[in-house]
């Protein structure tokens, strides 16, 4: 589904990613771990098409398409979703209006009829029920006055409603207490599907106690320095990142 080869990315003239190779198949959950400043969030942002990042070399293919040639909204409409580390606030626009606009942008792209507010409410209720959440966030302005936990929950709620094929979670666990973490992890597990892939960017192993990944990658200094099964996450928790970072220097 996603094939990244030799990806070099810089922001404001500084090279952050220095040759990433990554292959993600439908139905898989990949965890990207690594120390602060290793380039994890850059990878997430560049896959979603943030304009501040410049691709210097390499390719990223998504469902056979050149992902990097697409505008951010085209990627979204083709099923690429980024759960933001820092979701922005949009004043005066309710969450439900925002989400309906997003759903309709996707439906329009697929040649489906747009949903009116009543139809949308029905769809929304189904999706919320599937992950066991209520609609308390829906009538508030987008992320405005939300707690850190509510913002992250709102991202996963959008994921549930927009049903992407490739979901990228950028440090969704940061700032969550243990109960919120479990709630979010539970929802993500419910959303795992054979035709959907997850790329989960995280600094800590604790999220992976609740979401079991198929593959764990360690990113250090802009490169993937080690990949392995779920047990790699536990090893990192015990040993930290430094032993791998030293390895990155020599390779």
């Amino acid at each position: 589904m996603l094939e990244i080869k030799g990806l070099h990315v810089s922001v404001a003239g500084i090279e952050i990613l220095r040759g990433i190779d990554l292959s993600v198949r439908a139905g898989e959950v990949h965890a990207i771990m690594g120390p602060n400043g290793s380039g994890k969030s850059t990878l997430a942002q560049v896959l979603a098409g943030h304009p501040a990042y410049t691709v210097a070399a390499g390719t990223a293919t998504y469902d056979g398409k050149d992902l990097l040639a697409l505008k951010p909204e085209e990627r979204a409409r083709d099923g690429v979703f980024l759960a933001f580390q820092y979701p922005v606030e949009i004043r005066g626009i309710t969450n439900s209006y925002f989400l309906r606009s997003a759903v309709n942008a996707l439906r329009k792209h697929r040649g489906q009829e747009e949903l009116d507010p009543l139809d949308f409410l029905q769809v929304l209720e189904e999706k919320l029920k599937a992950i066991g959440w209520d609609d308390t966030l829906m009538n508030r302005p987008v992320n405005e006055g939300f707690s850190g936990g509510e913002k992250k929950r709102n991202e996963i709620l959008q994921l549930a409603v927009l049903e992407p094929r490739l979901a990228i979670l950028d440090e969704t666990d940061s700032g969550l207490d243990i109960d919120a973490l479990k709630t979010v992890a539970h929802a993500v597990n419910k959303l795992r599907a054979p035709d959907r892939a997850f790329v989960i960017v995280t600094h800590y192993q604790r999220l992976l106690n609740y979401i079991t990944p198929d593959v764990v990658h360690v990113l250090a200094d802009g490169r993937i320095v080690k990949s392995g099964g779920p047990e790699l996450a536990h090893e990192l928790e015990a040993k930290g990142y430094d032993w791998l970072r030293a390895g990155a220097m020599v390779s």
């Binding site: 098409g49 979703f81 980024l82 626009i93 507010p117």
Partner: protein, 477 residues
Amino acid sequence: MTSIEAQVQQPYKYGFVTDIESDVVPPGLNEDVVRLISAKKGEPAWMVDWRLKAYRNWLKMEEPHWPNVKYGPIDYQAISYYAAPKKLPKLESLDQVDPKLVATFEKLGIPIEEQKRLTGVAVDAVFDSVSVATTFQAELAKYGVIFCPISQAIREHPELVQKYLGTVVPYNDNFFAALNSAVFTDGSFVYVPKGVRCPMELSTYFRINASSTGQFERTLIIADEGSYVSYLEGCSAPMRDENQLHAAVVELVALDNATIKYSTIQNWYPGDEEGKGGIYNFVTKRGKCAGKNSKVSWTQVETGSAITWKYPGCILQGDNSIGEFYSVAVTTRRQQADTGTKMIHLGKNTRSTIVSKGISGGHGQNTYRGLVKIMKGAEGARNYSQCDSMLIGDQCGAHTFPYIDVRNSSAIMEHEASTSKIGEDQIFYLRQRGLSAEDAVSMIVNGFCKEVFKELPMEFAVEATRLLGISLEGSVG
């Protein structure tokens, strides 16, 4: 230019010129010109005397330069003070309106033909210095509502005009109001009798067409005891290299238990990217809550004009009266706006609300200037003010000058202000959810202006949001 900036730099859609034969008075201003305008309107002696009094006062006054706007000197002798299409019908027979005029208003989205009229909205269409059509006059007359060009009111309802004209904005109020009082040409007159709720929205559409002319309209709205009226004005002008002066006066009078809701969608030509051309919009608008429990509510959406200088205000004279001001002012290109409101509390338990939203893009300069004055006798007065500025790009500016003058210690005043910037991160967030860059900007601006747009009459809220190139938020949620 970033993608965000490109969004706000939309081309002006109403810049066409109607090729029509006009009766234009040569440029220049003196007592003869004042008399000539009055004669063309067929006015009685008291009116021409009032005009001349205003003119003589104006000669002694100086153009104000305290607003936070910059422009070259205005040559008042180079302006023509009267222009009217030659083929004018008698106002009773709308079907005789010059087809070119009908087509012009149609192009502007203001149908004045019998069959195509907007349902539920009566329109007075003003072209340069004259009203060319007023719809639904007969229908409104059934309710005792008078809605007609002010020139017609001066002839047919002199007792009402004489009683109220200049009582809210005196002929010597300020430089531009004095000029308007001397040379005003057309505008609308509304009288709603006691206890009548005006059955439809009233609106006036102002169109400047002739070159080198100014437009000096005058509007007077009187809501008698216990009545209600909602009125809306819209305006546009051709794209011209010269600056054209628009100096209007609007007076509102609300008697006991009456409510006047006055909405403006202002879209005068703003000038080009370099700041060449555009309308100078120097306007005095004031409402008087003369009676107890009366209410005057101003809502304005200002997107046009090279320079805007206006402070629609309320004199809260009656006890328990209410003044409101909701404003969205947009400045892009080289536009400058110095706008806000004045709330003068005289009566007991008077309340005022101010919500101002300034949006600046391009090289636009946006200034909010507001005065809240609580006089000695205004026991228990309350004011709530909120001023929000939004910046798009880094070449524009937002300025806020709130003045507060409280002379009664029982007053309760609240003031909130904020400044924000549309960031690439906000746009990116919305694009990542599948919205185009245009829709993303629209959604952010729409949300920012929501508190003001919800005050507009339904029929015009759509127009306002379209004007800003943004889509209206759905009713659910």
